[in-house]
Amino acid sequence: MENSVKQNPSLKDRMQSFIKNGNGNIVRLLTAVIIIFFLLSVTRYDTFLTVRNMQSMAFQASEIGILTIAIMLTMISGGIDLAIVSTANLSGIIAGLILTSMVPLGSPPVTVALGMVIAILAALVVGVVCGAFSGYLIAFWNMPAILATLGTSLLYKGLGTAITGGSTIFGIEESQFIGNGLVLGIPFPLILLLVVAIIIGIITRRTRFGLNLYMLGTNPTASHFSGINNRQILVFTYMISGILSAIAGIVILGRTNAMNVDFGASYVLLAILIAVLGDVDPAGGSGSVIGVILALVALQFLSTGFNMLLFRSSGANFFKEFAWGMLLIIVLIINHLSAKRRANKTIPEQE
């Protein structure tokens, strides 16, 4: 608003107002990404700055990126979706079962294509239903999101166990393209992540639904009295979260070619870590796709860096577990302190 009144604001002014509008964390994140990239490029130029390394980082980051965008939406609404990973696993399991039963080895291309379409659609439907059920419990039963999704995550995991009997479900050769394929040298999961990011970015920033979502997250009572159908928005949010989880599930099935209910147990923590790192407020009402993507890149660089420094020993994974916990808490504290400072600054200005 201010910018439009001022004539020809200088770049410095524009930067300052950009930071002032609460984007300081984004700028900080971008700086962190550039610094880590620079450090790794200089110290490990022979292994870090290779096409192969970039591709392998993109493969690792894509599925967790899609899951983080899913959890981000629910966090903006003031809740949280702890069922993302079990939804992803359940969808992947269903897709795998359909593929292996519909497309036996050596099938003609038509059967393969048909099987793939049906499997993907089925997985997406499973995701939507899972999300809708969580959303229904939260919106219509007023269940706290943590508890509702805790219960549903156990439920979906249990269903996955019951369907598979605890064993691993495999995909088919053709479905591996979704997880491992390259398009013009770009990993296919990365393309999926970018498409998801752009669509969700548009939905949150440019649609009525997006605006309502932020208002609901900021203050549900106020949004209710301004005529927003809170329940509808909530159910819709968890449905999108379910669809995105299902997409992640299909990618996981494609990448590993083996689906198991216990896969990716640590992903929930990682998704929350990335979301908080990307300046999504766990209390609701704020968060952006750009922040999440930057945080994802920063974390992937760090993760690769740790692996290179610790020579890919098993200790690297343990150290990462330690470091992610530490990082999450430090970021929470920094965000809290900077929000407090911002609040302290604005109060005297109003007087």
Partner: protein, 336 residues
């Protein structure tokens, strides 16, 4: 009078529990044997000890998922220290060291949450990863089997207060059950009769009001999370002893079962409500579901579905009760 009872959450859970026991007992009479009873108690004891901490945190309006990390860290580090010292003494020292380590980790949680007023679940998710990662990276990741454990820790697993002979061998009541009973009485007393207990409920009901009323929130939170750490340390040592191995990868992941039991027993996740009795009922219910569905002929793969269903049910009952109470109030007003 019956109506009054039905409004009590513990009563409904108790009814469900009795119903399940009767059904399982009718289908498979083995369930009602003393040996099975003792073995159920043994599994329930560990969860029960952890649940006392989870209950207090829930009452204060928080949610702590890091206690399994604290438990495993304390137990594994204690065993590592003792094994390196070739310790041959009694069981008291292991418990003291483990409890002390747990207390310190719990206070770290309390400090982060209390000083910076951060969301408890996300902080403890972070510290869970932090504690476990620190243990695996700095202390070690190899597990100690039965032969390597200190003698006292091994012997403690076999301790029994009185035994009964059954067809499949001896079954006994383990002394840790009395640790749970003692803990339950202490927590019940503190919650019901002390100012400290009132401060937990006040904080969970409305943090702002509690602060205005003069409760020191930071001090209360340090006490809560310190206490959770302390009993997690003790609980961790019991786990190591009863399973006769120090496995750094065990227990983490079962924290949600414990929280679910407390919620099932009537603790409100938004704070301000919960009781020791209800929580213990919840623990027994979940233990029976986990251990006895097989006796009913339900495949073990379906256990998680049933547990998930019970969690949702346990959350839905108080919400439905609150809804009914509100409607009653509205109706009364209309009649007036």
């Amino acid at each position: 009078m019956f109506k009054q009872l039905f409004r009590k959450h513990e009563f409904i859970i108790g009814l469900i529990l009795i119903g399940i026991i009767i059904v399982i007992g009718l289908i498979n009479p083995k369930f009602l044997s003393l040996a099975n009873f003792f073995s159920l108690l043994r599994s329930a004891t560990i969860m029960g000890i952890f649940s006392m901490g989870a209950l207090i945190v829930l009452i204060s309006g928080g949610i702590d998922v890091s206690f399994t990390g604290i438990a495993i860290f304390s137990m594994y580090t204690t065993v590592t220290i003792l094994v390196n010292q070739n310790y041959e003494g009694g069981m008291l020292l292991p418990f003291v060291i483990s409890a002390f380590l747990g207390l310190i980790l719990g206070l770290i949680n309390g400090l982060i949450i209390g000083v910076f007023k951060l969301p408890t679940m996300i902080v403890t998710l972070g510290t869970l990863s932090l504690f476990r990662g620190a243990m695996l990276f700095f202390v070690g990741s190899d597990y100690y089997n039965q032969a390597e454990l200190p003698v006292a820790v091994k012997e403690f697993a076999r301790a029994s207060l009185f035994t009964v002979d059954t067809a499949s061998g001896k079954a006994g009541l383990h002394p840790t059950f009395f640790i749970l009973v003692f803990l339950g009485i202490v927590v019940w007393y503190v919650l019901k009769y002390t100012m400290l207990g009132r401060s937990f409920y006040a904080m969970g009901g409305d943090r702002e009001s509690a602060e205005r009323a003069g409760f020191n929130i930071l001090r209360t939170q340090l006490i809560i999370y310190g206490f959770v750490g302390l009993i997690s340390g003790i609980g961790g040592m019991i786990v190591g002893s009863l399973f006769r191995q120090a496995n750094p990868f065990s227990i983490v992941g079962s924290e949600l079962d414990v929280i679910a039991a407390a919620v099932l027993g009537g603790a409100s996740i938004t704070g301000g409500r919960g009781s020791v009795f209800g929580t213990l009922l919840g623990i027994i219910l979940i233990t029976i579901v986990n251990n006895s569905l097989v006796l009913l002929g339900i495949p073990s793969e379906w256990q998680k579905v049933v547990v998930g269903f019970f969690i949702l049910l346990g959350t839905a009952i108080p919400l439905a009760q609150a809804h009914l109470a509100r409607e009653r109030l509205v109706r009364q007003r209309i009649e007036i």
